[in-house]
Symmetry: C2
Subunit: 378 residues, 2 copies
C-alpha cells in the first residue's frame, strides 16, 4: 500500500480545467482579478451565504490583508489561541503586531472567552478566534467581550468552510472570517485564501490591501501587499466548488466509521459533537489519554507510521513551543493551561475519500495492538 | 485594433502545460515545494548563474521573506527609492518596518548613494536598491556604504531578470536580489517571485520564512508567512524559461525601432544606455520634456489612449505621493528632489512581441501630431 496521509487534495478533471484555461490563454488575462477570479468570488459568496467574499493568494495572505484592513496601530496586541496552525500567530507578528495567547476551553479546544477577557490590556486591538478542527468558537461570548472593549473580532475559519451553527453561516460571524483554500482543505484552490464578512463595507479595504493599496492609476491609498489569486488557481476553485460537497458527504460517512471502530477503546476521546453545527469535515481528531488507553499519542502515531499510515499530531507543537514565541505566556484560569494539558494527546487521522476499508482495518488493528499491550517485533 | 497594453504575458502552449500538469495530477503533489518547484529553482539558479535561488508566490512575498530572513528589529528603518512600484515600500511597512526614501540619480534614476548616506540614522538596518527599468544601480558605491555602516543591502531586481553588468550577474549582487515573476514580467510564472544570493547561507532562512518558519514536524523556528509557489505556477515557469530569451531578443529589436522613430523629436529623452549592461528589456521608458517637446507626458499618454495605445506613467505617483507616505520626506542633495522633478515626465510605451509595425506607426504619428501642435478634432 502507498502511504496514507491525513489529507489528499480534491482535484477537478484535467479536461474540465483545460476548458477553463483555454479561455484564459485566449484572453491572456492570467491574473490581477480576472474574470474567473470574479466568478469565484460571486460563487463563494452565494455558496457561503455571505454578502462579501474576497479571494486571496493564500489563507495567510488573506489573514494579513484582513489585519491590514483593520488598520491596527503598530505594536498593538492581538489575542489568539496557541492551539492553531503557525499562520495564525505569524500573520500577526509579520505585520509588526504582537500575538497574545489566551487559553482554550477543555471541551471545544477553542478560545476560552474568560481567558480572553483576562488577557486584554490597553494595547489590545483585536481577537482572532480559531474554529479549530471545525469546532465552532463561543462566538456570542467573544463578540460581547469585543463589543464591550471595542476590539475587532476576526475568525480563522480554515477548518470551517461552508459550515453553519444553528443555521447561522460561519462566514457571517465577527468582523471578518478568514479561510484557507490550501490543497489540504475540504475546498481548495491549490493555494488560496478567502475573507468573508457580513459587513460589505470591509470589501473595499480588503481589495486595496490585496493589491498594494492601489485605488486607481493615479492613487495609492493604503499599505497593501500582493494577495491576488491567479486565474489558474481560480479555475481550480470554480471546478472544485462543484465537487466538495460530495467529498464532505464521504468524509461524514468516514467519521461515523472511525467513531464506530474506535469507540471500543477506553481513553480515546473523540472530537466534541456540536449538535447545532453543520460540520466542514476538515479533520478527524481524537485525544489519546495514555493512562486510560495504555499508550501515548506519540506511540500511536509512531506505530501507525510503521504501517504507512501518516497521522499528524495537529497541533503540536503549540505556538508557545515555537522558538520565536517560547517566552510568551498563555493567559489562563488554570494553573497549567488547558492548551499545555491537551497538546500531547491530539491526533488527526487520515480523513478524505481515499481512505478505504482496508486502511480503517489497519488503523483499528494498530489501536487494538497498542491497547492490548502486544508488542510487535519490528 | 484591440487596445495595446504596456505588457503582454508570455505564455507556454497549453499542450506543453498539460504534459507537466498530467504528472502533477497523477502525484497529487500540487504545492508545498513539489518536484516542479524544485526543478524550477535549480533551472533558475543555473540560468541566472547564482548559487542560491528560491521561488515564492509573488515578488512581494519574496521581498517580505527576504526582509524577514534578515531579522531586522521591529521599527527599523529601511532606505529605498520613491521611484518604484508600491510593493517595494509596502513590503517594508507591512512588516512593521519604516521605509525611508532617498533621492535618485538624475541619469540612472536609481538610488543616489550620496542621498542614501545622508539618510542613514542609528535606526537604519537595510537598504533596498531598485534596478528601475532595468537600469542597474551603482552597486559598488551602495555596497561600500552598507559595509561601512553595517547595513544589509537588498536589490529589487524585478526589472532586471537575467541581466548582467560588466559580465557580473545581477542575481549575485548585495545580500540578496528579489525578482518579480508576475505576468507582466519578461520571465513570468503568472504570479511568482524569486530571491537569489551569492551567499547560500541565506537559503535556509528564506525557506523557513516562506513556509511559516517550520523546520520540521516538531519544530517551528522563526516567524514566516506562506510564500510558497504552487506546482501550477512552477509548471508555467519551467516552460517560459525556454521561451523568454526569444521574447527578449524581439524586444531588443523593438527598442531599436522605438529609438529610431522617436529620435527626431526634440524633448524626448530615452533611457540611459549602460554599455556594460546586458538588459532585461522589461520596459521601454522615455522622458518627455514639455518645454522642448511642446506637449506634456500626460498629453502624450492621453492622446495615445485615444488611439487605443495604453501607455503607462510608470512610476507616477511616486511613493511619497501615496496617501500612506504623504508626510515622508525624500532625503536629497537637491532643493527639489530629482524624483519630484522627473516623476511627471516618465512614460512607458507598449513593449512586447505583440507590438506591430502598425502600432509603431500609430505611436509615431501621435508624437508627430503633438510635436507639430496639430489639434485633432475628437
Amino acid at each position: 500500500m502507498a502511504p496514507l496521509y491525513v489529507a489528499r487534495p480534491l482535484l477537478p478533471s484535467m479536461a474540465d480545467l483545460n476548458d477553463l484555461l483555454a479561455g484564459v490563454w485566449e484572453s491572456k488575462m492570467v491574473t490581477n482579478e480576472g474574470p474567473l477570479h470574479d466568478r469565484l468570488e460571486h460563487a463563494l459568496a452565494d455558496k457561503l451565504g455571505v454578502p462579501m467574499a474576497k479571494v486571496f493568494s493564500s489563507g495567510t495572505s488573506a489573514l494579513q490583508c484582513a489585519l491590514l484592513s483593520l488598520e491596527l496601530p503598530v505594536g498593538a496586541e492581538v489575542i489568539t489561541t496557541p492551539l492553531t496552525f503557525p499562520a495564525t500567530a505569524h500573520a500577526i507578528t509579520a505585520l509588526g503586531l504582537k500575538p497574545v495567547f489566551a487559553d482554550i476551553d477543555p471541551e471545544t479546544l477553542t478560545l476560552d472567552p474568560s481567558a480572553v477577557e483576562r488577557a486584554i490590556t490597553p494595547h489590545t486591538a483585536a481577537v482572532i478566534g480559531v474554529h479549530v478542527y471545525g469546532t465552532i468558537c463561543d462566538v456570542e461570548r467573544l463578540q460581547r467581550i469585543c463589543d464591550r472593549h471595542d476590539l475587532r473580532l476576526v475568525f480563522d475559519a480554515a477548518h470551517a468552510f461552508a459550515s453553519e451553527k444553528a443555521r447561522e453561516k460561519i462566514a457571517c460571524m465577527g468582523d471578518m472570517s478568514v479561510f484557507s483554500m490550501h490543497a489540504t482543505k475540504l475546498f481548495n484552490t491549490i493555494e488560496g485564501g478567502l475573507v468573508t464578512s457580513n459587513n460589505s463595507a470591509w470589501g473595499e479595504r480588503l481589495s486595496l490591501s490585496r493589491n498594494f493599496g492601489i485605488a486607481s492609476e493615479e492613487s495609492v491609498q493604503s499599505v497593501g501587499i500582493n494577495g491576488k489569486m491567479s486565474e489558474l488557481h481560480a479555475a481550480v476553485g470554480l471546478l472544485n466548488l462543484e465537487l466538495f460537497e460530495e467529498e464532505r458527504a464521504i468524509r461524514r460517512g468516514l467519521r461515523a466509521r472511525y467513531d464506530l471502530v474506535l469507540q471500543r477503546f477506553p481513553g480515546l476521546k473523540k472530537q466534541l459533537y456540536q449538535p447545532d453545527v453543520y460540520q466542514s469535515e476538515q479533520y478527524y481528531m481524537l485525544r489519546v489519554d495514555p493512562d486510560a488507553f495504555g499508550s501515548t499519542r506519540d506511540d500511536v502515531c509512531h506505530r501507525l507510521k510503521e504501517r504507512e499510515i501518516i497521522a499528524r499530531r495537529y497541533f503540536w507543537p503549540i505556538c508557545t513551543d515555537y522558538d520565536c514565541y517560547r517566552n510568551y505566556p498563555i493567559t489562563s484560569l488554570q494553573a497549567v493551561p488547558v492548551a499545555e494539558q491537551v497538546k500531547t494527546t491530539l491526533l488527526c487521522l487520515p480523513f478524505h475519500s481515499g481512505v478505504t476499508n482496508a486502511h480503517i482495518e489497519t488503523i483499528a488493528s494498530v489501536f487494538e495492538d497498542l491497547h492490548a499491550g502486544v508488542t510487535i517485533a519490528v
